[in-house]
C-alpha cells in the first residue's frame, strides 16, 4: 500500500510541492532562528570560554552576569590567595574605554587587563606577535576582527588598512603600541577587544577608587570546587562561581532580562504556525481531494490500519523532504552569511533534533486530521456520485 500512497502523493505535483515548501519554510525558520539564538547565547559567555584556565571566578555579590562589572578592592586577590585549597589567584580587569583612531575619531573598545606576572587569561590564540610582548611598556594586543574592522586606518580614498603590530594608538588619551594581533571568540558586544597588563589597564582606565573586576582562581588538584567556593565566599564576603556556574548565571540573565528569548520564540512559533497553516492545510486538502479514492480502496478491502499507514507514510515523506531542504537551506545560509559577517550562528546536533521534532509534530498533526477523516469515511460513499 506504501506504493499506492507514494504514487498518490507524488501524482499531485502542485499539492506535494506546496506541502514541502511549507515544511521547508517552517524547518528553515525554526532551525535558523534557533541557531542564531544558540549563537548569541554562547556569545554571552564567550569571555568565560576564552579565559579557560581558572576554575573559579570571584566577583562582587551584586554581579549578575559576566559583563556586569562591579569593581572590588585590589586586596581581594590577597585574601583569596589565603583561602585553603587555592593554588593560585590572579586579578583580571575588564572594562571599556575609548581608543582614538588615526583619523581622530573614537571607538569604544573592551579592554582586558591580565595579571602582570602570569598574563593569565590571555587570548585563546595569537595571529601575530607574542603574548609576552605585553610586558613592553604601553604594549597592547588587539583582536583580529577589531584590527581589520572598527580600528582599521581609513585612507583618504576610503580604503581600510588593518591595524598592525607596531602601530600606535591612544587609549583614553594614553599612548600605547600594538605588539600583537590575536583571535578571540566573538563576544556579545562586537566592540574590538584589547589585551594589556593589569597595571597598564588600570593606568589607562579613568581613575576610580576600585578597579579589580575579577579574581580568577585555580584550585589545588583534587579540590571540591563547590566547597572551595563556599570557603572563598566566607573568607571574602564576595561571590565565587565555578566557571560553569558563571556561564549559566550569565546565560540565565540574558534569557530572563532581555527580549531575546521572546523574539526567538516568536520567530520559532511563527515558523511552526506557518508550517501548520500551509502544510497542514494543504495536506488535509490533499486528503480531501483523494477521499473518493480512499473510499474506493476501503470498499475494495483496504482496512483502516492500511489507510492510516498510507497517510502516515505520505506525511513522513513530505516531512522528511521538507526537513532536509529546510535544514540544508539553514546551514547553507549560516555558512554563507556567517563567513562574511560576524553573525552568531551555531547549529549543534541538538538543534537538528529539535527542528526535526517540530517538523514531525507538524506532519503528525496534519496527518491526524486526515486520518480521522478517512477512518470515519463510510465505504458506502463509493456508490454516491
Amino acid at each position: 500500500m506504501g506504493f499506492i500512497a507514494l504514487k498518490m502523493l507524488l501524482g499531485d505535483r502542485a499539492k506535494y510541492i506546496g506541502i514541502v515548501i511549507g515544511l521547508t519554510f517552517a524547518s528553515l525558520l525554526i532551525t535558523q532562528q534557533s541557531a542564531i539564538f544558540a549563537g548569541i547565547m554562547t556569545r554571552t559567555f564567550s569571555f568565560l570560554s576564552d579565559v579557560g584556565l581558572p576554575d573559579i571566578w570571584v566577583v562582587d555579590p551584586q554581579v549578575k552576569y559576566i559583563d556586569d562589572i562591579r569593581p572590588m578592592q585590589d586586596t581581594m586577590v590577597l585574601r583569596v590567595r589565603g583561602v585553603e585549597g587555592v593554588q593560585w589567584a590572579v586579578p583580571l580587569y575588564k572594562g571599556s574605554l575609548a581608543a582614538r583612531r588615526t583619523d581622530g575619531t573614537y571607538q569604544s573598545c573592551t579592554i582586558i587587563g591580565l595579571d602582570d606576572e602570569t598574563l593569565m587569561g590571555g587570548p585563546p590564540s595569537m595571529v601575530t606577535g607574542n603574548l609576552w610582548n605585553l610586558r613592553k611598556s604601553g604594549g597592547v594586543i588587539v583582536d583580529a576582527d577589531g584590527a581589520a574592522g572598527k580600528l582599521a586606518h581609513i585612507l583618504p580614498g576610503g580604503k581600510r588598512v588593518p591595524l598592525q603590530v607596531g602601530d600606535e594608538m591612544e587609549l583614553n588619551d594614553n599612548w600605547s603600541v600594538v605588539v600583537g594581533i590575536c583571535r578571540v571568540t566573538q563576544t556579545f558586544q562586537t566592540n574590538p577587544v584589547i589585551y594589556t597588563t593589569y597595571s597598564s589597564a588600570t593606568s589607562f582606565a579613568p581613575s576610580q577608587r576600585l578597579l579589580l573586576s575579577f579574581v580568577t582562581v585555580k584550585a589545588k588538584p583534587g579540590q571540591d570546587l563547590h566547597a572551595l567556593c563556599q570557603r572563598i565566599e566566607r573568607a571574602t564576603a564576595m561571590r565565587a562561581y565555578t566557571r560553569d556556574e558563571f556561564k549559566m548565571v550569565t546565560f540565565l540573565y540574558y534569557l530572563k532580562y532581555t527580549g531575546m528569548p521572546i523574539n526567538f520564540l516568536t520567530a520559532v512559533a511563527l515558523g511552526f504556525l506557518v508550517g501548520v497553516a500551509i502544510s497542514g492545510q494543504t495536506f488535509y486538502n490533499f486528503t480531501l481531494d483523494n477521499l473518493r479514492y480512499f473510499g474506493t480502496l476501503k470498499a475494495m478491502g483496504a482496512k483502516n490500519g492500511m489507510l492510516l499507514r498510507m497517510i502516515l507514510l505520505q506525511a513522513l515523506v513530505v516531512g522528511g523532504v521538507g526537513y532536509g531542504l529546510g535544514v540544508g537551506a539553514a546551514s547553507a545560509w549560516g555558512m554563507l552569511i556567517g563567513a562574511r559577517t560576524q553573525l552568531a550562528f551555531r547549529l549543534p546536533w541538538q538543534l537538528l533534533v529539535v527542528s526535526a521534532m517540530a517538523v514531525l509534530v507538524i506532519c503528525l498533526s496534519s496527518a491526524a486530521l486526515s486520518i480521522r477523516k478517512v477512518m470515519k469515511l463510510e465505504p458506502a460513499v463509493v456508490f454516491r456520485s
Binding site: I4, G301, K303, N304, M306, V382, S385
Partner: protein
C-alpha cells in the same frame, strides 16, 4: 450455467440471499425507508440486473449486499456468510477477497497507471506491487489493451476505456461476487454495449455472481435475470429474455 459440479452442495448455487431486508436512513420525520423488506436471491453463475425508478433503493441494496453498508433488519447472507456476524475489519477483508466493484464514475486513481489501478485489489490483498502489476497487465491484454495503454493514465483514456480498466480491476483478484452500479450510464449507447459485452464475456463464471444496477434498457439483453424494484421492494423477477422487452417498456 445452473449445472452444479458433482458433489457440490445445492445451496452453493445461491450466492446472495436476502429475506425481509430493511434499511432506513435518518430518524424521525427525516427518516427515509430505502429498503422495506427485500426478498432476493442471486445465483452463482448468473448476471442479475437490478432495475427500477430513481430512488427505489437499488444502490442501497447492492451496498448492503457488497458489505459497504450495514442493514437494519431482515436477513442477508453472501456465500452463506452474514456481515452482521463480522467485525468491521473482517467485513473489509471479506470484501477484499470476495467482491469486485464497478462504479458509474469509474473511480480510477488518477496518479496510478492503468496497470497499477488494476493491480490495486491484489496489492490490498497483500501481493507485492511488481507481481501485482504484471498480473494486472495480463488481464488488461484480455480487455483489449496494448502495452502503451497499459502504461497510460486514466485521464488519457476515453470513458469506455476507463470502464474497461475498471472491469479488469473488478476481476483481477477473481472475486465471487461483482457489483456494478450503473456501469454504462456515463457512456454512449454503443460504448455501453461493448462494455457490457466485455463484462459478460470475462466476468460470468460458474462460481461467480454478477449484480448490475441499471436504468439502461438497451443493455437488458445481457442479463440472465432481471429483478425489478419499486419503493424499497423487489416487485418482480423475470428470467426469460422474451419478457425483457415487455417489462422494460413498463418500467423505464
Amino acid at each position: 450455467m445452473t449445472a452444479s459440479n458433482n458433489g457440490t452442495p445445492k445451496q452453493v448455487e445461491v450466492a446472495v440471499r436476502c429475506d425481509g431486508l430493511t434499511k432506513t436512513f435518518g430518524t424521525g420525520n427525516a427518516a427515509v425507508k430505502a429498503l422495506r423488506g427485500v426478498d432476493l436471491e442471486v445465483r452463482n453463475g448468473e448476471l442479475l440486473m437490478l432495475v427500477g425508478p430513481s430512488g427505489c433503493g437499488k444502490t442501497t441494496l447492492i451496498s448492503v449486499i457488497a458489505g459497504v453498508l450495514r442493514r437494519d433488519g431482515g436477513d442477508c447472507t453472501v456465500f452463506a456468510q452474514d456481515y452482521n456476524r463480522m467485525s468491521e475489519d473482517e467485513t473489509t477483508s471479506f470484501r477484499g477477497v470476495n467482491i469486485g466493484f464497478v462504479f458509474q464514475a469509474f473511480n480510477l486513481i488518477p496518479s496510478l497507471t492503468t496497470a497499477e489501478n488494476v493491480a490495486t485489489p491484489l496489492i490490498i490483498n497483500g501481493m507485492k506491487p511488481t507481481a501485482a502489476v504484471s498480473q494486472a497487465s495480463k488481464i488488461l491484454v484480455e480487455v483489449g489493451f496494448d502495452d502503451r495503454m497499459v502504461r497510460s493514465f486514466p485521464q488519457d483514456l476515453s470513458g469506455g476505456q476507463q470502464q474497461r480498466v475498471a472491469i479488469a480491476r473488478s476481476l483481477v483478484h477473481q472475486p465471487r461476487l461483482i457489483v456494478c452500479d450503473e456501469p454504462t450510464s456515463a457512456l454512449d449507447g454503443e460504448t455501453g454495449h461493448k462494455v457490457m459485452e466485455l463484462m459478460r464475456r470475462l466476468g460470468r463464471a460458474e462460481n461467480r455472481a454478477l449484480v448490475v444496477v441499471t436504468h439502461d434498457s438497451r443493455i437488458f439483453e445481457f442479463a440472465d435475470r432481471i429483478a425489478e424494484m419499486e419503493d424499497g421492494r423487489i416487485t418482480q423477477v423475470v428470467d426469460s429474455p422474451s419478457k425483457l422487452k415487455a417489462m422494460s417498456n413498463q418500467v423505464v
